[in-house]
Amino acid sequence: MNTSTRHIPWGALGPWLALAAACLFFATQSDRFLTGENLSLVVQQVMVVGVLAIGQTLIILTAGIDLSCGMVMALGSMVVTKLAVENGLHPALAMVCGVAVTSLFGLLNGLLVTRAKLPSFIVTLGTMNIAFAVTQLYSKSQTVTHLPTFLTDIGNTFTVGGTEVSVGTLLMVGLYLLAWRTLSDTAPGRHLYAVGNNTEAARLTGINVDRVLIGVYVMAGFFYGIAGLLSIARTGVGDPQAGQTENLDTITAVVLGGTSLFGGRGIILGSLVGAIIVGVFRNGLTLMGVASVVQTLITGVLVILAVATDQMSRKGGR
């Protein structure tokens, strides 16, 4: 019996309700909020955290946690930009290399979790430090600028019916849909849930638990690499300082999205909504002209309210 039963997972609908409530509230506070331009902005702002959160969700669904995600992303983006700018590699090839490096870090995490049977918290705490240090040493802590446009093109926007849509946003949404269908419609996806829900049962039914876990960590690394590409496109530089606050941000998105930290329960689309909720709070409060410290205060209250509202609606519904 998992102790997580205490925390009724807030399921599939909850995060959407919370998001809708937040949007409604801000719409009454500022007429700029509901414009297509503003909303498109919010989505662009959560693009990087959103894609990182795909990887984080996969890992949390297996009852693990990944503290290395932001730092691994930063390393990936430095590899891409340095190879493309300083070593003159074709940008496409540089991108492949960057994603390969982040996937390898994922592999390292996966091997340590499965082969050495270490808790994911410790493993990724270690690799977080390692990735950070390698990033600083490799880049000499220098930002890489003057990137070929090839690297920034996925940050471009085009207009659909008066609203700006960025290529990166589409990519993010596409990746979410892909991850979602893979989790719900394929055998490996189902095995992932089983491993997170009851590892021992998964093992006894003949699921290769280690292979599932290693696959998950590698996939997560892959998504961190993609997030790195998006961050390059969004900022237009290779930034060795990137990724430092992203761990908590991604875990927040996942939990706000209704996934249990105890594994096996949750829907990945929730993480996207969770990431957007945070973006909406920040954007809405700024539009209202709330001072930054007070924003922090209100965000604290709103985060609790968002989950509480849903919890209550659930009780009423019973």
């Binding site: 419609d185 189902r190 089983a194 829900n197 006894l204 039914t205 003949g206 699921i207 329960r265």
Partner: protein
């Protein structure tokens, strides 16, 4: 009832030892399963029955001893190895994923894939087929479960056990092992499971049945393996020996030597 073929041994274990820290769960136990038979394994609580079948099914790796499948030495390093060899097991603690549905649990690790090249390549689930089969298998056990898309954690104790039994019976290719499959079942459901076990045997697959239910054991078993203090105390023939003598051997009240020779099997 099919008579067991002339003592072809499907599974054989010799001198299996399994220790957990201070506790010796298996103390050099032997084991033999003949082709096409239902072999009951009985013994007091803690006698080592579950430990034995965990060793046979790859769930644990024994500290000593050897295991033969169809006369060939095998080393099961994990349940995956045993499953590859066609062995399906119902574990005493059921090994289900509580948050997943009945249908999902039934096909866990053996999912049906969409039957087209893309489906196989991407390992896409054929959910419709799995649902249909789940309904049918559970109906076979006459267990009144309304919906196959219910999470297993919402089932009653007996319903949960039926899920595990149905899974093992459905997928076995070579040997079926059941650790107390009827413990939580009602009279009707328990009889359905006995019926199912017979059907499996009649398909030619040998079944290992662990049970504390002596009437069940005597009703269905071809031979009875008596486990005592981590060892095999005797294998007896239920058609010859009485239930009370069997229990006496099991609890240590009677020595094997005191049994008539024809009682042994």
């Amino acid at each position: 009832m099919n008579a067991p073929q002339q003592h072809t041994l499907v599974m054989q274990a010799k001198g299996i030892v399994k220790r957990y820290g201070q506790v010796t769960a298996l103390d050099g136990t032997d084991f033999e399963l003949r082709a096409g038979e239902i072999l009951a394994v009985i013994g007091d609580n803690g006698a080592g029955k579950s430990s034995l079948i965990k060793a046979l099914s790859g769930a644990t790796v024994p500290d000593e001893g050897e295991l033969l499948l169809d006369g060939k030495l095998v080393h099961f390093k994990s349940p995956i190895d045993a499953r590859r060899a066609g062995i399906e097991t119902v574990y005493q603690d059921l090994a289900v994923a509580p948050a997943m549905t009945i249908a999902e649990n039934l096909f866990l690790g053996r999912e049906l894939l969409k039957d087209h090249p893309l489906g196989r390549a991407l390992r896409m689930l054929d959910k419709k087929a799995m649902l249909a089969q789940a309904v049918q298998r559970m109906n076979d056990l006459k267990v009144g479960i309304r919906s196959m898309t219910q999470a297993v954690e919402t089932l009653s104790g007996g319903q949960r056990q039926c899920v595990a039994v149905a899974r093992a019976a459905a997928f076995a290719q070579h040997v079926v092992i059941m650790d107390e499959p009827t413990a939580a079942l009602g009279v009707k459901e328990g009889n359905m499971v006995l019926e199912l076990i017979r059907r499996v045997r009649d398909k030619g697959l040998p079944v290992i049945l662990i049970s504390h239910n002596m009437p069940h054991v005597f009703e269905i078993a071809d031979r009875i393996h008596i486990q005592r203090l981590g060892k095999r105390a005797a294998v007896v023939n239920p058609k010859v020996i009485s239930m009370s003598d069997t229990v006496a051997v099991m609890t240590g009240a009677k020595l094997v030597e005191e049994l008539p020779a024809e009682a042994l099997a």
